[in-house]
């Protein structure tokens, strides 16, 4: 996966987040403060704009640049969390021009670890980790089973979508939703939903469906 493909991933993620912004905001209205879609759309638009102007030369630099833009422009908790995820992932890729399936797996794992550390959350707390954690595991299992990068990305996207859905019966223990306690049961976590979108974008780009 080369630099252009990583840029295509971020562009597709921005497109999906933009298209689904209203749904993300509605999910957030149910158990948070009704700004997740609006904030994340602003952040990803800024990330794409920064990629256009900075034109980073390596896959790693694409992710760290996009991460920095998300931190700068998103606001709320999701900016630092997604920004840290992309920056940690980008750092593991070093200066390489072409990223292998194994390297991308390590980058996704670094993203997961970064989110977990910054947010101090665990799987089952009804957060984006409930999509990201299963996605990383599914990705790595696909690679170990002999799948190529596109196979593994598809497995990650499917696991993330399932993981997001599985947040519906969960009780929120982190972030602003946690103050609602039992009232969060029955609602999908907006952070898990947006994580599923970003991984869907990765799968679409690696399958050649989006450039």
């Amino acid at each position: 996966m080369d630099t252009a493909a990583f840029r295509a991933w971020m562009t597709e993620a921005a497109r999906l987040v933009g298209a689904e912004a209203d749904r993300l905001t509605q999910l957030d209205a149910a158990i948070g403060d009704a700004d997740h879609g609006v904030n994340l759309r602003r952040g990803f638009q800024a990330a794409v704009a920064m990629l256009d102007s900075a034109a980073p030369a390596t896959p790693g630099a694409v992710l760290t640049t996009a991460g920095r833009a998300l931190i700068s422009k998103t606001g709320g908790a999701s900016g630092p969390l997604y920004g840290t995820a992309l920056r940690q992932a980008g750092k593991t890729l070093g200066e390489d021009q072409d990223v292998s399936a194994v390297q991308l797996g390590a980058a996704l794992e670094a993203a997961r670890a970064g989110v977990q550390q910054l947010g101090a959350a665990h799987e089952g707390d009804k957060t984006m980790l409930d999509a990201l954690g299963p996605a990383v595991t599914a990705y790595q299992m696909a690679v170990e089973g002999g799948g190529d990068l596109a196979d593994a990305a598809r497995a990650a996207a499917e696991a993330a979508a399932r993981g997001a859905e599985e947040t519906i019966p969960m009780l929120a223990r982190k972030g602003r939703a946690s103050y609602l306690g039992d009232r969060t049961i029955g609602h999908e976590d907006p952070g898990a939903a947006s994580t599923a979108l970003i991984l869907r974008a990765l799968a679409a780009v690696t399958a050649g469906e989006a450039r």
Partner: protein
Amino acid sequence: MKKLINAPDSVLTDALIGLAAAHPELRVDVEERFITRAGGPTTGKVGLVSGGGSGHEPLHGGYVGYGMLDAACPGEVFTSPVPDQILAATRAVDGGVGVLHIVKNYTGDVLNFQMAAELAADEKIQVESVLVNDDVAVENSTFTAGRRGTGATVFVEKMAGAAAERGADLATAAAVGMEVNDRSRSFGVALTSNIIPAAGKPGFELGDSEIELGIGIHGEPGRRRAQLMTAKEIVGVALDAIHGDMPLSGDLLVMVNGMGGTPLIELYVVYAAVAEWVAGHGATITRNLVGNYITSLEMAGCSITVCRLTPELTELWDAPVQTPALRWGR
């Protein structure tokens, strides 16, 4: 939605332009979104920076000035500020002896201030943080993001600000802030919801005769919904919750704070009940504030914040302050 705005997405910008026009003693960077004292950093004085989502005015911009904050970073309405603006404010108020960040315990605020502090450290600016988490309505912190930062933020900003103004070093100013937070507790109640301008509709629904006990400053729910009761009964619920968490004794600083949509006459009705309750429990209110100090847009309701004073804290509270929203002794 009926609001005095020009457009939902220009509310913050337009308000900052207004703040700048009304207060030439402040410098308002409308582009970068931070507010500092017009005079710039004071060499040798610890700089105090606070910030958070907008919609809580006068918090935080109204507390920038002599004896209190050096800078405030307003985010979008109810959305935490981003690290860039916090870093810009931190740079702008660094007088060479470090900067104190005062942060309310909300996940977004905490993460963005943490990233800004790391970026400031890269630039060799020393930063310490005080986390405010005074809201007793959140009972089980193990299964939540922890207690929210609410009314005690005003006390922390005032008293840590006074300490810094007298020349306290960074560690001492931070210790004062932490002590004030440790000795303070709050409890809020909402009678109506609020409307975020960009959302255009109420953030939550309350029936005509319903109230939410233990509300946060964005309308996040607290302990329970209840039927409307008298001001005395509401004060009883709030102070029982506070007293159950931190027994009240000795000299107290009490703030009866309006959430934005409650008239002052009702806040005095509440204060009368607070004074009666406190007297009946053997403590003494030696300092008080009654008014709108940390609001939640047009929400009707109030919060009660109590700080158990020490002689030192009383002195810091009484120290001169000159800001748009608090002003005495100078």
